[in-house]
Point group: C2
Chain length 347, copies 2
């Protein structure tokens, strides 16, 4: 089969690799229908994240179950399934608490020798704990929205949950990438009364507004803090979603939170070196940082995606065939593509 393999920063190749097969009795093999490229894929591609030559790429996919191991009970060949970006056994202490990213038997696609999602097929460990079957008769035109449940929408949702977004909360979202935009969508879904999107790109701000943003702030750094304070009567916002992962984004997030407010940070913090703890102390700020347990949220978000009531599809602004995954990375890195959809096969 074809799969995307990373050789070096900037050197990604879609090439022939052995077809995946069931190895463990709890495995399944999934033929990929749709996959996509994540902002976090670019960290390794740019050489910022630790990099293992030869690793597979991609951690978001939706597809059709082709084979199941003898101990797989809840899945059968032919089912359409969506995979969260990490596999998990569904039974350990952390999985039972809904924190599948800490699963004692878990991992993230592409780590070590595991398969990646940017491929024609994937061997899925702990298939029962990991994969979520879609309802019979799910319309093909909703599959792109369902693919967003692999990572980007649950991650925006996780930022909102960690920031304490609830009915009538005032919210600001730092970062106008696909995750930040999904954070806007998730905040609207959770009933926020005001959602300030921080964006200086007109096309992304337009998606933010479509997703429920009530205000757009284009400033950055101290000017962004001043502007948000200005439009909130000097008070700041209850909840801040930090969806970038840099020192500047974190400083902005803390600076625009109201005293007693809460920041939920999902930007992979490769470029966060400092936190202003003195400010947190004097203003009673909370910070929760975390990789989203996407598996915990898929069932909750799926009905709203299937109905189109909260539809993340607008984050996918360009589609590519599998062979053009390297171009998709280049386009996302150049910011000419917000989030690349990769069409692999038909369901």
């Amino acid at each position: 089969m074809l799969a995307s393999v990373a050789y070096a920063p900037g050197d990604l190749r879609v090439e022939q690799v052995p077809d995946p097969v069931v190895v463990e009795p709890t495995d399944a093999v999934v033929r990929v229908v749709l996959t996509c490229v994540c902002g976090s894929d670019l960290w390794g591609w740019r050489g910022i994240a630790p990099f293992s030559p030869g690793r597979r790429t991609g951690h978001e996919f939706l597809g059709v179950v082709e084979q199941v191991g003898p101990e797989v009970r809840d899945l059968r060949p032919g089912q359409l399934v969506v995979a969260p970006f990490a596999w998990s056994d569904g039974t350990c202490h952390y999985c039972r608490r809904g924190l599948q990213t800490s699963c004692v038997n878990g991992g993230v696609w592409g780590e070590g020798t595991s398969d990646g999602g940017q491929a024609e097929a994937v061997r899925v460990p702990c298939a029962d704990g990991t994969l979520v079957p879609l309802p019979e008769g799910t319309p093909v035109e909703r599959l792109r929205g369902v693919l967003a449940l692999s990572d980007v929408f649950p991650t925006g949702h996780h930022a909102a949950k960690m920031a304490g977004v609830a009915k009538d909360a005032t919210v600001a979202v730092v970062g106008d990438g696909a995750v930040g935009l999904c954070g806007v969508l998730a905040s609207a879904r959770l009933g926020a009364s005001r959602i300030i999107a921080m964006s200086r790109h007109e096309d992304r701000a337009a998606v933010a507004k479509r997703f429920g943003a009530t205000d757009v702030v284009a400033e950055r750094g101290d000017e962004a803090i001043a502007r948000v304070r200005e439009i909130t009567d000097g008070i700041g916002v209850d909840c801040v979603l930090e969806c970038v992962g840099t020192d500047q984004a974190m400083a902005t997030a803390l600076g625009i939170a109201t005293d007693g407010g809460q920041v939920g940070a999902v930007g992979v913090p490769y470029e966060v070196s400092t936190i202003d703890v003195q400010q947190m102390f004097s203003r009673n700020l909370g910070l929760r940082v975390g990789v989203a347990p996407a598996r915990a949220y898929i069932e909750e978000l799926l009905p709203d995606v299937l109905s189109g009531r909260f539809d993340p599809v607008p984050v996918f602004d360009h589609a590519y065939p599998l062979a053009e995954v390297p171009r998709a990375y280049r386009d996302m890195s150049a910011r000419t593509t917000l989030k690349a959809l990769v069409e692999v096969s038909t369901p």
Copy 2:
């Protein structure tokens, strides 16, 4: 009157100063009955915190109202009152939300030209918003416990609340000073099922056990993390109270939290320079840091203190007259006194 005045780090003098009088119509003057010394008083005394020569010291006191300004409505001369360590107007946006430490008209005793609590009397701004009258007939033998409501017990309680302590939570408390011990007491009061006190001092560990600690861990640093993990089946605890304010204490606090856990930090973070944000991300940790809005908690904690059901008095292990405040600081700095009670006058 006599008041304690700080001249330089290590140079504290109890000397004659002008008697306080009502200046603003919302002021009261309180004759001090009991005051005490806080661990945070030592930061300035040791020269670690910013220091203003000539400032008054002490921010915890209980006393009798002597005079009230013409706009004070809820207090009358002769009432016994306890003061939280910060004054607040009780009416601003933040006070209405229970975050009186962010009051737009607030301040902390001893800041600027304000009076300090280690004195014979104190001018209290925003008296109605600040002072809490005690019930008629409060027995004299309960006043030491009520004095603890100025700061140390609400601060321990705030750490527990920020760490999310609730019924059946597993808890660890980093720091065996008076605040940490009150954090143990507050966690017991909130229904924690297990409370691990981190202490290497036998006398303090004994108070921790009396306050409800189920385990005592004497190790520090990485050994403390290993020990807590060992006694929690490798999982760590749900809630960690960080009651020190150093890099090591913060690292220990994050290290012993279970994945998905929460740290509440009340140690004044003069010596916190770094936070391991990558660990927080991979393990989904939360951190809330804050100065306790003591005023918000006094009414809640007062009945349990008056009944003796949750009695913080054991944190006061030595009593001093006002004239010996400098010795009290020296003894606390040398750790021969845990928390110094200062007896100023009779109620």
